[in-house]
């Protein structure tokens, strides 16, 4: 960790609407740092999802488009196909990507679209008010699983990185987290790798980031970090699931 710490240029100097302790802010900053380090701000287009990060377009200092729920990978496909010189990334949550947008992400990944997806997995719908997501843990209480997720009724949580890594085409699939400083360096490395592969013209890259949602989990930010570490990380194991040279 360096001794100097400042807001990256690619991050707008504004307050976000995110709840206290929400890890979106950290992930935004890491993306912005990588964009600064690769010096691609002037040719980057981000795609905001529907969900808590829908207003992400206000928090970066480069071009942005805003998608419908789950459709960001299709939009990124459209942009990247007609303007391959642009750096394109989607920023999606787990309701957006793993539920309503599962078709779009699977097909974009499988076609090997040359964009990057930042997939924020906090095991719950945020913006709509804490409903059950495809990534919600067994027995996890949400507003639409008040007795806890019943896996007999709705199945087990989807492991998106493992699922997408089963496809032959994608270049890079990794899962990291930002819940503690010791993980953040690896998360940033993964984001930087994903963007670098895109810059090199390699096909689809995705970084899943295990995150917290103190508000909808009904916990303090500190307790959320502990819960994520104890409950999410054993199930959503960190690591590289696919690299351009073979499995991670």
């Amino acid at each position: 960790m360096g001794k100097i710490f400042q807001k990256p240029e690619a991050l707008a100097d504004v307050d976000t609407h995110y709840c206290p302790g929400c890890t979106h802010g950290i992930i935004h900053r890491l993306v912005a740092e990588v964009i600064d380090e690769l010096d691609v701000r002037g040719r980057t287009v981000g795609i905001a999802p529907v969900g808590c990060a829908v207003l992400a377009y206000n928090y970066f200092t480069f071009d942005f488009q805003e998608a419908a729920h789950g459709r960001a990978p299709a939009m990124a496909t459209g942009i990247k196909r007609v303007r391959p010189d642009l750096m394109v990334f989607t920023y999606q949550g787990d309701g957006d990507l793993a539920s309503i947008g599962m078709s779009e992400i699977v097909h974009a990944a499988n076609r090997g679209e040359k964009f990057t997806t930042i997939f924020v997995n906090n095991a719950v719908y945020g913006m709509t008010g804490g409903q059950m997501a495809p990534t919600t843990m067994p027995d996890q209480i949400t507003t639409t699983s008040p007795a806890g997720r019943d896996t007999d009724e709705v199945g087990m949580p989807i492991k998106v990185s493992e699922l997408l890594a089963a496809l032959q085409t994608p270049a890079y699939i990794a899962r990291q987290t930002v819940i503690r400083a010791k993980y953040i360096r690896k998360a940033k490395q993964a984001i930087k790798k994903a963007f670098t592969y895109q810059l090199e013209g390699k096909c689809f890259s995705l970084v899943e980031i295990v995150s917290t949602c103190p508000t909808n989990w009904g916990m303090t930010p500190i307790d959320s970090i502990k819960w994520a570490e104890d409950t999410l990380l054993p199930y959503y194991q960190l690591g590289e699931y696919k690299t351009p040279n073979g499995a991670g």
């Binding site: 701000r41 002037g42 040719r43 980057t44 287009v45 795609i47 905001a48 829908v54 207003l55 377009y57 970066f60 200092t61 480069f62 071009d63 942005f64 488009q65 805003e66 998608a67 419908a68 459709r71 960001a72 299709a74 939009m75 990124a76 496909t77 459209g78 942009i79 196909r81 007609v82 303007r83 010189d85 642009l86 078709s103 779009e104 097909h107």
Partner: protein, 356 residues
Amino acid sequence: MAKVLMKGNEAIGEAAIKAGCLNYFAYPITPQSEVAEYLAKRLPEVGGVFLQGESEVAVSYMLYGAAGCGERVFTTSSSPGVSLMSEGISYMAGAQCPVVLVNIMRGGPGLGGILPSQADYLQATKSIGHGDFRMLVFAPASVQEAVEMTMVAFPLAEKYRNPVMILGDGLIGQMMEPVEFPDDLRSEPTNKNDWATTGMDKRGSDRPNLVKSLFLDPEKLNEHNLMLKAKYERMQQDEVRFEPYNLDSEYKVLIVSYGTMSRVCRTAIDNLKADGLEVGMVRPQTVFPFPENAVYEATAKSGCNAVISIEMSMGQMLEDVQRSVKGRKEVHWYGKCGGEVPTPEEVMDVVRSLAD
């Protein structure tokens, strides 16, 4: 340029290329799949982008993304596919993305059938998706007209920053006619750097462009809706197109008909004229904006007893005709659906019954 004999669907694909659009995203559906098949071969020859999406839903967002970064882009589909795109079309309208959409209509509702129909009139002209928006909608009656409308659709989509639809039917798509591609209809996008995500370096700006349809502040959304409304009113002012037919005569009945159906009506009108009965027709070439003044003025003729909307749907355009006639004359309807096209004889019988 010499005329070539082409199938409607293929001619539409070539027209887009000739207009200067080299980006096409689509999903196969009868009766328009020939456009995709044609362009799968043709676009690579001219350095264009062809991509078969995983669904019409995805295709509509590929269009949104591509148009949102300022590039010309279009798709073709047919009724059930267009319904699937309707979500994305709403976003395109909200985010003001210029996209050209071709609907080669088939029968419905649901899967309906694969034969020609005009069953999507209300969907196209009133509300193709959620929210409060309109599209410029062209209704070609020949392959040549489909070509020319496709070619002018691109600069108009860019002028209004709005989706534009070519509303054809299965016959327009499937029939072969001699066509030419007028060189003077070729154009280039002009204003994209003002708004599209072209990349700040590319446009030499340090100000990000934002393509979005979200306005959480009610006052701002109201302003946005008012701005869109003003845009649709400008379309109504400036973009109405129609063809008058036999309106110089002392017609007893006025037909309003568009697309393939209007060709049958034209034959019926010619036959009735030979029999001594004059019938006039207003043929909308744009169905939004609808040529309401033209229809209203055409009902002023003193000998005109009745107005009839003849369409391959169960009385959809009828609502626009009634609105335009403003109660001045009785308004009737005749039509068939499901791929059945009324014959000239059927049209002649109906019109004769209204003439007295």
